[in-house]
């Protein structure tokens, strides 16, 4: 596993004059074998930053290592229902991400994310949202990546299932020593899986540090705002 490094990364959409700058000169390190939790408001550029790392968004300036070419960085998406091709078995979806198709490896990956290997032939519609996210995780691992990016992977899941997926993520990360950028809007979830927290706002990283420090003693005004917005039950 390697660190994931963003060096002065800028992503601009549209023309210079009328376009929007989604990511604005961001420098960020996800140290090898650690989890960085990325939080921030909608439209702050979290997903764009993630997508830039896997080559789905064009870099206007800056550098990301390892590069998006060559499957070093893999990503798990938010929506379990659009993450898998409905026309393919889950085994095929996982195999597609491998350099060469290897049935035994597909079975091993499924077991790894807590699904019975004999489900490889199932179509996605037979799986629950949580199971689909685990398949998506298995697919991300299939290319033997050095870095995994998880973009809101539990936000479409039920609380009971969310817990199970987070448990799998946390376990795998520790066991395989994965380098991971974990994006979530749920501060409690980020707090639970991350070693480091980065707070993003309007395309910039405004705060970065060990999770306990940032959440326990936020320095930036916006981080404090975020903490205050954590939903608390009425009365």
């Amino acid at each position: 596993m390697r660190a994931l490094t963003f060096e002065n990364v800028t992503v601009r959409f549209g023309s210079r004059r009328r376009g929007t700058v989604a990511v604005d000169d961001v420098s960020l390190v996800v140290p090898a074998g650690q989890v960085v939790g990325l939080v921030g408001e909608s439209g702050s550029g979290k997903s764009t930053l993630a997508r830039a790392a896997v080559g789905l968004a064009p870099l206007t300036a800056g550098r990301i290592t390892p590069s998006a070419r060559g499957r070093h960085v893999q990503m798990v998406f938010q929506d379990p229902y659009s993450a898998l091709d409905p026309r393919m078995s889950i085994g095929e979806s996982i195999a597609e991400a491998m350099p060469s198709v290897d049935r035994a490896e597909v079975a091993r990956l499924l077991e790894l994310v807590g699904l019975p290997a004999d489900r490889a032939r199932d179509r996605p519609h037979l799986l629950s949202g949580g199971q689909r996210q685990r398949v998506a995780l298995a697919r991300a691992l299939a290319g033997n990546p050095e870095v995994i990016i998880a973009d809101e992977i539990t936000s479409a899941l039920d609380v009971s299932i969310q817990g199970a997926v987070l448990n799998v993520v946390r376990e795998l990360q520790r066991r395989m020593n994965l380098t991971m950028l974990f994006i979530s809007h749920n501060l409690a979830v980020v707090r639970y899986v991350s070693d480091i927290v980065a707070v993003m706002r309007e395309g910039k990283i405004v705060e970065y540090g060990p999770v306990d420090e940032v959440l326990g003693d936020p320095r930036h005004e916006y981080t404090r705002e975020l903490l205050a917005a954590v939903p608390r039950p009425a009365h």
Binding site: S42, A68, D85, E96, D158, P233
Partner: protein, 623 residues
């Protein structure tokens, strides 16, 4: 699948398919059987009217017109087919290319397609006929290329819908090439609607071909197709009309066969909506619920939703007053969305909805849905979880909002647009006038969701049903969206039915919370009681499973063990028994009714009085 499709097709569909089969069989065999008869010149029988020997009379050379019409089936269908294949292939290539090429090139081609689509087909065909020359070949090319732009556009629209989905992105990240993505992921996922559209295009091509031949630009003598026969017949129409009528009829029938069959297939595979859900059958005995209050904005009693072989909603009763916010929580598949859809009369066949009572603003919503369209369209707004799939990806956001008032209130274009901009700023979208002119993909997720809410309140609704409206959003935006819903509610006294699987959010937004499990309401309690005073073990488990800012990071998270039961195979007794720490034999034998407790509270559990400390709910089990 095929049998079910046929059943859904209805009598009209079945006749269309039968007609289609007839046309195809005729195209294959007619020339083998009647060719001679059709070509036999008979000087003794020139221009005769219909008779036993010549059902459609004879032409200038005494040939039997009916036989000629039958024989012409092959050429007419064959040429139209050729033209369609040409048009579809060209359209598919161009349309799919936009999916393979980068965004910029794709946009250029898209613009080109849009321009060509705007030309009337026949005009384009005439233009091509002049270029390619008069004759069958020219006509095939002409009609083919006239069909292509429309098909290209449909392909492009469908493909861009699929291309935005995450599995495409995942395949790209995994290093799968563009062409392979097209053939493996995009095309299989859009094949069905394309086949249907092609069938319908075939009907159009038949008509177009007949017109060209009729005008003398298509098939040339001595060959003949229906268009030509129609032309010849028309010259003698005053002598005997059958000679023109029969070929004309053949064209219309064959075109209809293709068109309708396309529609039928579309309906069978669920591409077109035909809201004809039935309501009002006597439902099975209701669980013991209090009758909803008389002054309710919404009153639902014993609502059931079933699909063939499964009944995912099993007797839901609820009521909602003006300005009240009621939440529905529950796991995925518990029937929350179906309940909402049933209330809005959006359940499609084969889904079936029954209720003892389903009243909205005093109107009984049961029965034929078209009678309630107006009320539902203007007074009830639905906000869905996934704004990307609810917004049309290729239409400007403002235009989509404007559409609502244009259809329901017949507002003119300018007023509708102004209102759209106004509503967008009402949902706090900065620079609304500029944003209204953008496409959905130019919005962030939170903005799309706010735009959806803006769309919901275009027409001053009395009730907003929001199905997981903030699930995809981060806390600050979630807070804004929730605030927005609250504002709308209090400013305009709008009722809110708020669906979510997040107990915390529901507890924050709503006054009352309904907890659903396996298609039933298992608890109905004030939001303030959620945290500490929930009675049902499931409610308590849901509350306990939410990670908070104090959760121990070194322990696995609390999860509710097991999975919800399969709605096709519900256990006898309490549906939660297999996962319940309090389950006893009674629970496994008898289903607890939803009993009313003190004011307003309801709970369905045999052991609701028993207190369990939250911690006794299993920690750390993998589900």
């Amino acid at each position: 699948m095929a049998a079910r499709g046929l059943r859904r097709a209805g009598p009209l569909g079945i006749s269309a398919l039968a007609l289609l089969v007839l046309v195809i069989v005729l195209a294959l065999v007619a020339p083998l059987i009647w060719q001679q008869r059709a070509d036999a010149i008979n000087a003794a029988e020139i221009l005769r009217g219909p008779s036993g020997a010549h059902p459609a009379g004879t032409d200038l050379l005494g040939r039997d017109i009916f036989a000629r019409v039958l024989v012409a089936t092959r050429l007419s269908v064959g040429l139209a087919l050729l033209a369609t294949v040409l048009g579809v292939t060209a359209g598919l290539l161009v349309g799919a290319t936009t999916a393979v090429l980068g965004r910029r090139a794709g946009r250029w081609i898209g613009t080109l397609i849009n321009i060509t689509v705007a030309f009337p087909n026949l005009l384009l065909a005439l233009f091509f006929a002049v270029i390619f020359g008069v004759g069958a070949k020219g006509a095939v090319l002409a009609i083919g290329f006239a069909t292509a732009p429309g098909f290209a556009r449909i392909t492009q629209t469908l493909a861009s819908g699929v291309a935005g989905r995450d599995f495409i992105a995942a395949a790209r990240i995994a290093g799968v090439g563009r062409f392979r993505i097209l053939t493996r992921h995009v095309l299989p996922n859009i094949a069905e609607p394309l086949v249907v559209t092609a069938t319908i295009a075939m009907g159009g091509a038949m008509l177009a071909f007949a017109s060209l031949s009729f005008l003398g630009l298509g098939v040339q003598a001595p060959s003949y197709d229906w268009g030509r026969l129609l032309g010849e017949g028309l010259q003698q129409i005053y002598i005997h009309p059958a000679g023109a009528l029969i070929p004309g009829l053949a064209v219309v029938l064959a075109a209809m066969a293709f068109n309708l069959s396309g529609e039928v297939v579309a309906r069978a595979i669920g591409l077109r909506s035909t809201s004809t859900g039935t309501l009002g059958d006597p439902p099975p005995p209701a669980p013991s619920d209090p009758m909803p209050e008389a002054d309710a904005l919404l009153a639902v009693h014993n609502l059931q939703v079933s699909f063939p072989g499964v009944r995912p909603v099993r007797g839901v009763s609820l009521s909602l007053r003006r300005g009240e916010a009621v939440g529905i929580v529950g796991e995925s598949g518990s029937g929350k969305s179906l309940t909402a859809l049933a209330i809005a009369r959006l359940i499609e066949p084969p889904g079936e909805v029954t209720a003892d009572r389903l009243e909205f603003l005093g109107e009984d919503l049961r029965g034929d849905v078209s009678a309630h369209r107006r009320l539902l369209g203007t007074s009830l707004a639905m906000v869905f979880q996934d704004p990307m799939t609810s917004l049309n990806p290729v239409q400007r956001v403002g235009r989509q909002l404007a559409e609502v008032v244009r259809t329901h209130q017949r507002a003119d274009r300018r007023t509708a647009w102004a209102r759209a901009v106004d509503r967008l700023s009402a949902v706090r979208i900065a620079d609304a006038a500029k944003r209204a002119g953008q496409l959905p993909h130019e919005f962030s997720g939170g903005m799309r969701q706010r735009a959806m809410i803006g769309m919901g309140v275009m027409a001053n609704p009395a009730l907003v049903i929001a199905d997981e409206p903030t699930t995809a959003l981060d806390v600050t935006v979630q807070k804004q969206v929730l605030q927005l819903l609250q504002n709308i509610r209090s400013a305009e006294n709008v009722g809110l039915l708020f669906i979510s699987h997040d107990v915390t959010v529901v507890g924050q937004v709503c006054e009352r919370v309904l907890v659903m499990y396996a298609g039933r309401i298992v608890e109905d309690l004030p939001a303030s009681a959620l945290r500490e005073h929930a009675r049902h073990p499931y409610t308590r488990a849901l509350v306990a499973a939410v990670p908070d800012m104090e959760t121990d990071r070194n322990l696995p998270l609390a999860v509710i063990p097991g999975r919800p039961p399969d709605p096709r195979d519900l256990p006898v007794g309490c549906a939660f028994a297999a996962r319940c720490p309090l389950a006893t034999d009674r629970c496994r034998e008898e289903d607890p009714p939803l009993d009313s407790l003190e004011t307003g509270r309801r709970v369905a559990c045999w052991h609701a009085e028993q207190t369990v400390p939250h911690l006794s709910l299993i920690k750390g089990e993998q589900s």
